[in-house]
């Protein structure tokens, strides 16, 4: 089903032949940041921001587009071996197709969410949350500080590369702190991502934080 779903495009109308939609594959582009690379200093250096955005995130987007093209070609040629081997590349760079997220892509989407999670101090970055989120945090974790301590501990304990998340369990209506390895999206754990922290080493290493718990 993932294969069929991955051939669909968001919106638009295509020819329908026996249930298989054969349309053009949409290509993705690197989203712009709403702030300058240096705007998050001294917390995150401009050097890290530009590398992270222009090199790492761009690489995910580029490789995802390439994998999608190759997948389209393999499907057209009915090359099932290539299709299977490309699925993991699509998942890592972009993503397999998850319910409700047509064309959503972990490596690409995780970073897209990440940039939006950050803001310069003058635009409210670092301020405590208010409203419903603040209340939910206090109810679930006791206080914002307790949540921060928990996310630090969980993030520091992550082995290898991955992400730390504050996620929402929609059914139980509760906030959960969870981790995912590599670029696996939080939906694999059945949660909706609210806040994600990239704890791949590339996200902090150049700033002299050699262990992710330091930052």
């Amino acid at each position: 089903m993932a294969l069929l779903a991955s051939l669909r495009r968001t919106g638009g109308i295509g020819l329908k032949r026996g249930g298989l939609f054969t349309r053009e594959i949409q290509s993705f582009s690197l989203p712009e940041l709403s702030y300058e690379y240096s705007a998050l200093e001294p917390v995150i250096s401009g050097e890290i921001m530009s590398l992270h955005h222009q090199k790492h995130h761009q690489a995910y987007v580029t490789n995802y587009n390439k994998a999608l093209e190759q997948l389209e070609e393999a499907s057209a040629n009915k090359n099932s071996e290539a299709i299977v081997s490309l699925q993991s590349a699509v998942k890592f760079n972009g993503g397999d197709n998850y319910e409700g997220s047509v064309y959503e892509s972990p490596g690409h989407i995780n970073h897209s969410v990440f940039w939006k999670n950050l803001a310069p101090v003058k635009e409210g970055g670092g301020e405590a949350p208010n409203g419903g989120l603040a209340k939910a945090i206090d109810t679930q974790f006791g206080s914002l500080n307790a949540l921060i301590v928990k996310m630090n501990a969980v993030g520091a304990a992550l082995q290898g590369s991955g992400w730390v998340w504050l996620g929402l369990n929609k059914d139980l209506k509760s906030l959960i702190v969870e981790t995912t390895p590599n670029q696996d999206p939080l939906v694999t754990k059945g949660l909706l991502p609210l806040l994600g922290i990239d704890v791949w080493e590339h996200a902090y290493y150049l700033q002299g934080y050699f262990c992710c718990s330091e930052c």
Binding site: K55, A59, Q159, G160, N182, E201, Y205, C211
Partner: protein, 294 residues
């Protein structure tokens, strides 16, 4: 000669006069048992060259952080976590296999320190001493259940020890010796091996290692995630490259491909690989069995 062995930096002797008493409470008995063990703290082994010896390919700063912070961190955690547990008497091979748990790694596994004991007499005596104690302990059916202890960093200590020895100042010389013969036998040519090794290193998603191993009497290229090493699969490593981002980020940032090329062209120590191959041949026959003619 390069050695895979590392001697413990000091041996901590516990008093031998304490005896096991069956009338004591379980916790006290366990403590008594561990008091009888002669235990070792593992020490941080220096790379076989100075920290600036691999310049300009790996900077002094990068090696200082990689060895001095990451490798040291794994080791410190290791010593902290085995202290006072029954696992202190284990060899690292035993620990690594136990915590790998046939592919369902316990929380301990990712930090497994596999320190290969030197086969010298002192260590042999310690091993015999501890093994006898374990036998007695099992007979009393009070063997510790510390397998589930949260042990980390086991593997990374061994992996890093192994990795430093894979490099040498002025390395990257032409591959020669017996290893070349086996590479040409099992990969068709050195260039094909190089291509496969580089490809595996470049495509290891996230953190991990890439290895040249002996597997089923042949050479093979393998990659592993995080801290896994091929010993848990019963394969014998000859060469490794660390592709965790911390190993190249200070010098190469996101350019992992450049780091891999530099490692193979300027740093790799084929002498070390040949030495390891010599040791592996003591355990495994890599050629067809020679049937003597009468």
């Amino acid at each position: 000669m390069m050695t895979l062995l590392q001697k413990p930096c000091f041996i901590q002797h516990m008093p031998l006069h304490t005896s096991i008493s069956s009338t004591k409470m379980k916790g006290a008995v366990r403590k008594t048992w561990t008091n009888l063990l002669t235990v070792a703290q593992f020490g941080l082994k220096d790379p076989p060259y100075k920290l600036d010896a691999l310049e300009p390919y790996i900077s002094h700063r990068s090696l200082e952080v990689h060895w001095g912070k990451h490798h040291r961190g794994y080791l410190d955690n290791l010593n902290k976590q085995i202290e006072g547990t029954t696992l202190q008497g284990y060899t690292l091979e035993e620990l690594i296999k136990v915590t790998y748990n046939n592919g369902n790694p316990m929380p301990a596994f990712s930090n497994a320190a596999q320190l290969i004991l030197s086969r010298d007499l002192v260590t042999l005596l310690i091993w015999i001493h501890n093994s006898l104690l374990k036998m007695i302990w099992k007979r009393h059916k009070r063997f510790g259940t510390d397998m589930e202890t949260q042990l980390k960093d086991w593997k990374q200590v061994w992996n890093h020890d192994f990795f430093w020895e894979c490099m040498e100042p002025g390395g990257g010389k032409e591959c020669t010796g017996e290893i070349l013969e086996f590479i040409e036998r099992d990969f068709k040519s050195y260039d094909m091996f190089l291509e496969e090794f580089k490809q595996a290193a470049a495509t290891q998603f996230g953190s991990g290692w890439v290895w040249l191993v002996v597997k089923d009497r042949k050479l093979a290229v393998e990659k592993s995630t995080n801290a896994v090493n091929p010993l848990v699969w019963g394969h014998m490593p000859l060469l490794t490259l660390d592709v965790w981002e911390h190993s190249y980020y200070l010098d190469y940032q996101n350019r992992r491909a450049d780091y891999i090329s530099v490692f193979m062209d300027k740093l790799v120590s084929w002498e070390a690989v040949n030495c390891r191959l010599g040791r592996v041949k003591a355990f495994v026959n890599l050629r067809e069995p020679a049937v003597p003619y009468t």
